[in-house]
């Protein structure tokens, strides 16, 4: 039963709790060629965080973290809104928004890989500065737009499936294939497990790190486009606000250790859906939405406790003790 992951069970429990709170939770209807329903909402609302989580997974697997993704979302949204307002064609607008995200990621990667800054500090710089840049671009206003092409990204549907879900799904599948069908995933895990040993084995650790942060920035700009398209405007103050924390939480729920190493993109995406499921559940329950923060905090504590070595030791301690190992081999010593 190795293929049953705890995340599957967690997601199922969250969905069933939702169903217990609201009988119509699983009811799905089609309106205007698009699926509707609470369950679809979980997927649709969860898509931006799921997209962030895809990039964040790669970063965390290298033993890093990217706090700037929320701010990069705001920057990408601001760029898209400003350009579409000034009458640029949709293709250019999307390329520019994605390009700015890539650039932000390259900057983070430069700080982490070349200057060797701690990721949490390095990305904190852009977390603060990025939102400032976005606010300058929008001059503190919410820049609205009504270009149907751009709006389609946020609220359109492809074969009845909402666009954000399509984009997140495609991104997840493509990223997973690239990671696992090439040696890229292994290299990223190697760097996260032991950067020094990876370099000794001949990996381009610096280039890989920069690439990973750039990818994370790209993902953030995709999420930023969706968020802006969804509200038909770029809100530099609130777009992507605190979403970096949700993305990190999603990755951690997905089982990627903050200490780097083994990762799974699909499980991180599932983590994002679990978080969104909890959000929706609290809304449906009628509790004030502030409860959401407390519930999330509680989930974080539980997950981190499960990952903590001390708890691990206690759990091992509670298992039946194995037979004591044999006497030390003569001459054996530590290095």
């Amino acid at each position: 039963m190795k293929w049953i992951k705890p995340q599957y069970i967690a997601f199922l429990i969250v969905l069933l709790l939702n169903f217990a709170l609201f009988r119509g939770f699983f009811t799905i209807s089609i309106q205007d060629g698009r699926l509707f329903g609470s369950l679809i909402d979980v997927f649709n609302r969860g898509a931006p965080v799921a997209i962030l989580a895809v990039g964040m997974t790669a970063v965390i697997a290298t033993k890093g973290v990217d706090l700037s993704v929320g701010a990069v979302m705001a920057v990408a949204g601001a760029v898209a809104a400003s350009l579409i307002q000034s009458g640029q064609p949709l293709g250019i607008v999307i390329l520019a928004a994605l390009g700015i995200g890539l650039l932000c990621g390259l900057w983070n990667g430069f700080l982490v890989a070349v200057l060797d800054l701690q990721p949490i500090i390095a990305t904190l710089i852009l977390m603060v500065a990025g939102r400032g840049i976005a606010q300058l671009m929008t001059e503190g206003r919410i820049v609205t737009f009504n270009d149907p092409g751009l709006i389609y990204i946020g609220s359109g549907a492809l074969l009845t499936i909402p666009m954000p879900v399509v984009i997140a799904g495609v991104l997840m599948v493509v990223a997973t294939l690239i990671m696992r069908r090439t040696a890229l995933g292994l290299f990223i895990e190697s760097i996260g497990v032991n950067r020094s040993a990876s370099t000794y084995a001949g990996l381009r650790s610096k280039t890989l790190l920069i690439g990973v942060y750039a990818f994370c920035g790209l993902c953030a700009s995709i999420a930023g486009l969706i968020a802006a398209a969804d509200i038909r405007g770029a809100d530099a103050n609130n777009a992507g606000l605190w979403l970096e924390l949700d993305a990190i939480l999603a990755v951690v729920i997905g089982g990627t250790s903050l200490l780097g190493g083994r990762f799974s993109i699909p499980l991180s995406v599932l983590g994002a859906l679990i978080i969104q499921g909890m959000n929706t559940g609290i809304l449906l329950s009628g509790f004030p939405s502030e409860f959401n923060l407390i519930v999330k905090a509680f989930v974080v504590i539980v997950i981190l406790m499960v990952q903590s070595p001390i708890v691990g030791n206690i759990l091992t301690f509670m298992r039946p003790t194995p037979a004591p190992t044999a006497v030390p081999a003569p001459g054996e010593k530590t290095s």
Partner: protein, 511 residues
Amino acid sequence: MQEQIMPTASPVLTADSITKSFLTTRVLDRVGLTLMPGEVHALLGENGAGKSTLIKILTGAYTHDSGTIRIDGVDVTPRDTAHAQELGIGTVYQEVNLLPNLTVAENLFIGRQPTRFGLVDRRRMERDARRILEPYGLEKLDVSADLGSYSVAVQQIVAIARAVDLSGKVLILDEPTASLDAREVDVLFTVVRRLRAKGLAIVFITHFMDQVFALADRVTVLRNGKLVGSKPIGDLTRMELVTMMLGHALEHESAMRIVKDRPRGERLATFQGYGLAGKIAPFDLNVHSGEVVGVAGLLGSGRTEMARLLFGIDSPDSGSATVDGRSVHLRQARDAIALGFGFCPEDRKTDGILGDLTVRENIMLALQARRGWAKPLSFKEQADLADKFVKALDIRTASVEQPIKLLSGGNQQKVILARWLATEPRFLILDEPTRGIDVGAHAEIIRMINRLCDEGLSLFVISSELEEIVAYSSRVLVLRDRQVVRELTQEDVSTASIMKAIAAEPGEVAA
């Protein structure tokens, strides 16, 4: 050795039959240490000898499994650093463990600042700080300036002053001179001699032979977690001391030498005037295919630095390298790997294994890195590769899908070796390949080195085990004070000749 107080008094500290194991590995085996008041006691040994474990037990960082520690005749067990200080044992580490962003006075009194009305009495603290530092010749030091604004030597002395003020019986100096220049070392030694004259027992850990002879009254040598001996320095020659540290049995040496006349292949690589300031002085090295170049020297003699330079981990600031007659630049490990080099580093845990990854992944990593990420080895290719080497090198693992961290040290070393063999290298650098490995695996690795060499591979092997080097090396480079001081060839290779070259007085050309 002047102004020495004859240790007639009873010992300050006696550690007796100290034994300590980590899991199944015994790192200290009935080791003893006796410290007299007013002596500088050098504690010597190579990496893994157990020095630092012993110090950590004395300072309360570890608890010993058995044995006794007595201070002034009273049984004690230091619980932690603070408790050790209360008992009178103070420690100063190689890297100054004070806070550079606080003032000198704050550093001396941190955690025990004199207070007035519940507030820190700064004036009194600074007055007391000057009083503490006065005997160290630092009376003119501005104690209200940041500690970080002073040289490492001054910081080191402030650290000593704090340790002595807190403890006052035993002072442990763990490689205090590692980051000091010659003049600063003199200043430090003056301080240490003064403290000795005041009756302190000082444990002095260093890798520098000269400093041992310049400062120490007595020497205790550990090797492989066991006590080799404890002697007054006056009773020892350099040769005898090196023998205590490195060699144990000169008698069964003659039987060991396996490779007297191995045919030398063609020249593979040439390094001329290759060096990096502060790491290793420029050296010349020719490597021929099918030969083992052994490297001997004490810890800190520049062995590992030399290997890192050859593999491109560090870049040289002088000299040139030629491989296959073509000039090459080794700026990073990838450059060396592309030329068919491989490197099993000394510190297996930090630079070698990828603990959470499987044996299979650890074996295929270097080969995959050379192919690039876009050309993955198929799972079957990886598994075949791993199986092949698990069989060939007799790697004991439940399965190739086992995380490597679960393997024993010897098997981990074989996996790292397999990682490089998988790239079909021509030149393999092995830094302490048999460290931390049990006796069985030890012999296997040595057999493997011989076999690889017979197959035409060139090897560059660094080891503290002289018998080992003598056994497999075609020729031996001897390093001392970050210089290649001697190259021994053919019949000149013996543990005796190596030790003689290591122990030669500095400046003296080892003949």
